[in-house]
């Protein structure tokens, strides 16, 4: 049994909120450089340069890469031999978000009620996903999600008869409809299977996988590659001004499902696909 005091969780969440918004992850940076080499259009190349320059400015001047610093999506993998002390885990996560968004000069983009729409002024509450895993560690991942891309995401309950072709068509339709809106180049998280909410969760979780790591199942690794190729043949390009680089990566996660169903969720993210993690 390992004890972790909530104050440690507050500090960690706070730092992760700031880091995720200030620093572009290396896998994304590498992917943008490689994409630039493959672009034949000068405007597309220029835009990829601007995005990379923006990441340097944000890092050097300690400021957010994007003004939409997102709703804080927090994934907690809690070892079953961990005992949280000193207070409530949920309160600690929200306090970390509150302090991170205040001290990091991040935008407060959360309204307390979806219809009444009054800003909570501290970017809480966070969206928290908990999972209990073996061991005595606590892994915290903070993935601030902007809504330019979140609004372009889609979920559909396909019929089993739609099969793999139905999945591909639905993914391509979602990316086409999103067009220039989610700040392409995008990262496409796809959840296939499970139930309605499980598919959506898997699509979100898929976005945490680095863009240079494929699905461990060769069938889905090949599907990721095929979909990426098809998406990058649409011509949308960086910012939607035409070009090859519409997406940097397609990440698929799957789960068992019901005999009557084939749920598919497409969670679109902008090029930055912000996330930072720490293990306590």
């Amino acid at each position: 049994m390992k004890e972790i005091h909530v104050s440690k969780i507050v500090e960690t969440v706070k730092k992760l909120c700031i880091d995720a918004n200030y620093y572009l992850n290396d896998d994304i940076k590498d992917s943008l450089f490689k994409a630039k080499e493959k672009e034949t259009f000068s405007l597309a190349q220029n835009i990829l340069d601007i995005i990379l320059e923006n990441a340097d400015i944000a890092k050097n001047e300690n400021m957010p890469m994007c003004q939409d610093t997102g709703m804080a999506v927090v994934f907690l993998e809690i070892g079953q031999d961990v005992h949280i002390t000193g207070g409530s885990l949920e309160d600690a996560v929200n306090e970390g978000v509150r302090e991170g968004y205040s001290e990091g000069y991040l935008r407060k983009s959360v309204v307390g009620d979806p219809i009444e729409r009054i800003n909570t002024k501290d970017n809480t509450p966070a969206i928290i996903h908990y999972s209990i895993v073996p061991g005595d560690k606590l892994k915290i991942t903070v993935a601030p999600k902007g809504f330019g891309s979140e609004n372009m995401s889609q979920l559909k309950m396909l019929k089993p008869a739609d099969g793999i072709e139905g999945v591909k068509d639905f993914v391509l339709k979602a990316v086409k409809e999103a067009g220039p809106n989610p700040c392409p180049p995008i990262v496409v998280g796809i959840g296939i299977g499970g139930t309605f909410e499980k598919a959506a969760f898997l699509a979100k979780k898929a976005l945490l996988r680095p863009v240079n790591v494929k699905n461990s199942n060769p069938y889905y690794a090949k599907l990721e590659e095929e979909l990426l190729e098809k998406i990058n043949s649409l011509g949308i390009g960086p910012q939607g001004f035409g070009g090859r680089t519409t997406a940097l990566s397609v990440n698929i996660e799957t789960y068992a499902t019901h005999i009557a169903g084939l749920p598919v969720a497409v969670n679109i993210n902008c090029h930055a696909t912000r996330h930072s993690e720490a293990v306590l």
Binding site: N119, G179, P180
Partner: protein, 185 residues
């Protein structure tokens, strides 16, 4: 070669802008997003004056991050424009000349751009730290209670933009994508 333009925009200046042009904009612009647009259009419905003279002006769809001490603004990239589509034609009708955002506009907005000789620019989505460097001053104009969504008057220097929809209704999202696809055939 990038065209240099200044605000307020004259009808002649708007007519010279063509879809696909890269421009550098200097002058005062106004920030407004969903909530501020809703209030502006409600004022018009009630026959009241807007909190600023909109004639010839440019609205930037942005909700910046808070400014650090000594800075005029925080990160300030464009938000997705289609959410302002329900309000934009009314504002163009009463004299708004330019809109800055990112992403597609609906047919009503494109028709209003043509009818009232307006222009829609895109700033680079996600390049918000870079954009902030072009903002030299920021002044609160209205709706402080909206926080990041309040209306501010910004003075910008050489803000890099791309003309997406020009006053003839040409749409660079369509043109650029078509040109790219033709080049790969």
């Amino acid at each position: 070669m990038k065209k240099k333009i200044t605000t307020p925009l004259t009808d002649d200046a708007v007519k010279e802008l063509k879809a696909g042009d890269s421009v550098l904009l200097t002058g005062y612009i106004y920030t407004a997003r969903d909530a501020a647009h809703k209030r502006l259009v409600e004022l018009l419905k009630e026959g009241k004056n807007l909190p600023f003279d909109i004639n010839g002006q440019v609205i930037y769809y942005v909700g910046p991050t808070p400014a650090k001490e000594g800075m005029p603004i925080g990160s300030a990239g464009p938000t997705t424009s289609y959410r302002m589509d329900p309000y934009a034609p009314k504002l163009l009708e009463i004299g708004l000349k330019g809109m800055i955002g990112k992403g597609s506009r609906n047919d009503e907005v494109i028709n209003a751009i043509k009818k009232y000789n307006g222009v829609y620019f895109a700033a680079i989505g996600g390049a918000a730290a870079l954009t902030a460097k072009c903002v030299k001053s920021s002044e609160l104009i209205a709706y402080e209670d909206l926080g990041a969504e309040a209306i501010r008057r910004l003075y910008v220097e050489d803000l890099p933009l791309i003309v997406v929809i020009d006053s003839d209704g040409n749409n660079y999202y369509e043109i650029g994508q078509r040109e790219y696809l033709n080049s790969t055939k």
